[in-house]
């Protein structure tokens, strides 16, 4: 059994930051830093999250510290809500520390409509979105691809969607990496991944992925909100999904390949899921190019879903003569490995930032931000658990200085899926949500139960921590009025 980790093993740096020093475990190459208040720290100590972070800290070539976000929960290999940075080129890249759902992320669309205007049509709108955006196990999209077209998607990401009429140019402008990761090479994507992905473009998938119609119910930062076009009472839409079977298979296939060569590099693993290779090794380079393909698949996937959401608004509102517009606020990834430059221990350094269940949160003035946001910082999208609030934040100078330009990604689970399924009836939950005025369109009632709000931490508490710790800044809160999931 792993050694127990207790609250007194941490050094409290400030009200919201705790450090587990290297001395805690001789295998650690860097300290572990957890952003949490006392209660969230206790939640984090309630499962194996922090043990997993200690394992990550033992990987070679890391710099700074392993960062753990307040929404952390136990994952596999790296905890969900973890960030690590490895030095380029001699550090490592780890497919398991990026995760199976490469470029799982969130897109926020805003509309010119108010809750009052949409209310009479909400049920119909939710049904149209449920129909137009296929979800659930085994779903296939409306955009089947030939092998050649799939390769194009893998290289171009959301640009492919723009070329084929599924995007507006400004959608791409307001997407992390402008919707296209460089260095994507379809020859490095495995045939099985391509086979799994070819019919899945424009699908939501299952599990915790969803589309949600929301209302902006509180503005905290009027300047940031105005820049994003957000106002109180406004209807907005969130999309949460990733690279589907394509990305999962890339991770699976590269873990298998890495296992065969890891002995060559003399890397000792605390957990096989943290399988890794040097960034400058042939295997590391191949994975980076394949991961970029999966990231591009995901950017294109969320773009196609955004198109079908616009189509759903059109189908419902146009016949009724209601004028509407749906624009993109931003689109972020929360499972990715990125080569970025950060100041670490007073030195500018090129590092590979692994964010697993953590969101890039670049501060004002960062190169790579769209013109619209460069002076206020990058919009950060934090979906809450189903039926609870979600948040729009901004990246800050603090996130750049403290967390390799990263912040939290959601609420974070506290209850296992099995326990949630035992304790919560999907049908009852649906009735409860509906009694709160939330329209629910879900394919699987047991799937709904697993994602019950009770199974998650309080997202508002998580957001308060990142806000007060200065690694993001609150702009607006969203409240759900319709949930669509598989």
């Amino acid at each position: 059994m792993a050694r127990e980790i207790r609250k007194q093993d941490f050094r409290r740096i400030n009200e919201y930051l705790w450090e587990l020093p290297r001395e805690f475990d001789p295998r650690m190459n860097v300290p572990v830093r957890i952003y949490a208040d006392e209660e969230l720290l206790e939640d984090a100590l309630g499962d194996l999250s922090v043990h997993q972070a200690v394992n990550v800290a033992s990987l070679p070539g890391l710099v700074g510290y392993v960062v753990v976000m307040p929404d952390v929960h136990q994952g596999y290999g790296m905890p969900v809500g973890g960030v690590m940075a490895s030095k380029v080129p001699e550090g490592i890249i780890s497919p398991g520390a990026v995760g199976y759902d490469i470029n799982c992320g969130v897109r926020l669309l805003a509309t010119n409509l108010t809750q009052e205007q949409i209310a009479p049509h909400l049920s119909e709108l939710a049904s149209r979105i449920y129909y137009n955006c296929p979800s659930g196990v085994g779903s296939e999209g409306h955009v089947p691809l030939t092998a050649k077209q799939l390769d194009e998607v893998l290289v171009e990401g959301a640009r492919w969607a723009l070329r084929h009429g599924y995007a507006r140019p400004e959608d791409l402008e307001h997407t992390e990496e402008f919707g296209c990761m460089p260095n994507a090479n379809p020859d490095k994507a495995t045939p099985k991944a391509k086979e799994r992905g070819k019919d899945q473009l424009g699908t939501l998938g299952a599990g915790n992925h969803f589309i949600e119609v929301d209302v902006v119910d509180e503005i905290f930062d009027p300047v940031g909100a105005e820049r994003m076009g957000l106002f109180e009472g406004q209807v907005a839409v969130q999309i949460h999904c990733g690279s589907r079977g394509f990305g999962h298979q890339i991770c699976t296939d590269y873990l298998q390949r890495f296992e065969r060569v890891i002995h060559k590099y003399g890397i000792k693993l605390p957990d096989k899921e943290l399988m890794c290779a040097p960034i400058d090794s042939p295997e590391g380079q191949d994975y980076i190019q394949a991961m970029a393909c999966a990231a591009n698949f995901a950017f294109c996937n969320r773009q196609i879903l955004a198109h079908y959401i616009r189509k759903s608004f059109e189908e419902v509102l146009k016949p009724k003569g209601i004028a509407y517009d749906v624009w993109q606020v931003y689109d972020i990834a929360h499972n990715m490995g990125k080569i970025e430059t950060h100041e670490i221990d007073g030195q500018r350094m090129t590092v590979c930032v692994h964010r697993k269940g953590a969101t890039r949160a670049w501060g004002p003035g960062s190169p790579g931000l769209p013109k619209k946001y460069v002076d206020i910082g990058q919009p950060v999208l934090i979906p809450g658990s189903m039926g609870t609030a979600s948040y729009v934040l901004l990246g800050t100078p603090g996130s750049m200085a403290q967390t390799f330009g990263s912040t939290c990604h959601g609420a974070g689970r506290v209850m296992s899926r099995a326990q949630a399924k035992r304790e919560i009836r999907g049908e009852k939950l649906k009735t409860e949500l509906e009694s709160q005025g939330i329209v629910v369109r879900a394919g699987s009632m047991s799937g709904l139960a697993e994602e019950a709000p009770k199974a998650y931490k309080d997202v508002s508490r998580v957001v308060e921590v990142v806000h007060h710790a200065g690694i993001a800044k609150k702009v607006a809160r969203l409240r759900p009025i319709a949930v669509i999931k598989g």
């Binding site: 499962d47 929960h73 136990q74 994952g75 596999y76 290999g77 969900v80 398991g96 995760g99 199976y100 759902d101 659930g136 196990v137 085994g138 099985k192 086979e195 799994r196 998938g205 299952a206 599990g207 079977g245 999962h248 298979q249 991770c251 699976t252 873990l255 298998q256 296992e259 065969r260 002995h263 957990d271 096989k272 899921e273 399988m275 689970r413 506290v414 209850m415 296992s416 899926r417 099995a418 326990q419 699987s444 047991s446 799937g447 598989g486």
Partner: protein, 147 residues
């Protein structure tokens, strides 16, 4: 730990699904792990055996073979909506522990049918802390599925 006389059991995990599988032999362990995985997805009693799929994988460790075998099945499930209930392990050749370059090999067949409904979607079988143990003459392993 007393090794119970069941093929597999579900164990708690905060975010994902996990099972512990048991077997008197390694081939039985591999078959029971697959059975445990499909017990999460479908009602095994209601499943027919009209479809057969063959699997052949190589890996650098016994655990790598187990994970690769199950991930091959996950692939068939996603591509063809197939669920399986019976497994034949035809060849299980472990890598040479003294030679880091050697690869083990598994050849197996799975029998099942197209499932009308899958209870959940397994993205992948993970390598998380995967270790095959031998105790009281039986093997056991814990597996975490990313869902």
């Amino acid at each position: 730990m007393a090794v119970p006389e069941v093929p597999f059991e579900e164990i708690p995990h905060t975010a994902d699904w996990a099972i512990r599988a048991y077997g008197r032999t390694l081939p039985e362990l591999f078959a029971h792990a697959a059975l445990g995985m499909y017990s999460l997805l479908v009602d095994l009693d209601a499943l027919g055996e009209s479809e057969r799929r063959e699997v052949e994988v190589e890996a650098a460790s016994p655990e790598g073979l187990l994970v690769a075998w199950l991930n091959e099945l996950v692939y068939f499930t996603e591509r063809e909506q197939l669920a399986f209930r019976r497994f034949e392990i035809h060849e299980l050749c472990l890598p040479d522990p003294g030679d880091p370059d050697s690869l083990g090999r598994l050849r197996a067949a799975a029998y099942g049918e197209r499932a009308r409904e899958l209870r959940k979607y397994i993205k992948a079988v993970t390598y998380h802390n995967v270790a095959i143990h031998q105790e009281d003459g039986r093997y056991w392993v814990e597996l975490v599925f990313d869902v």
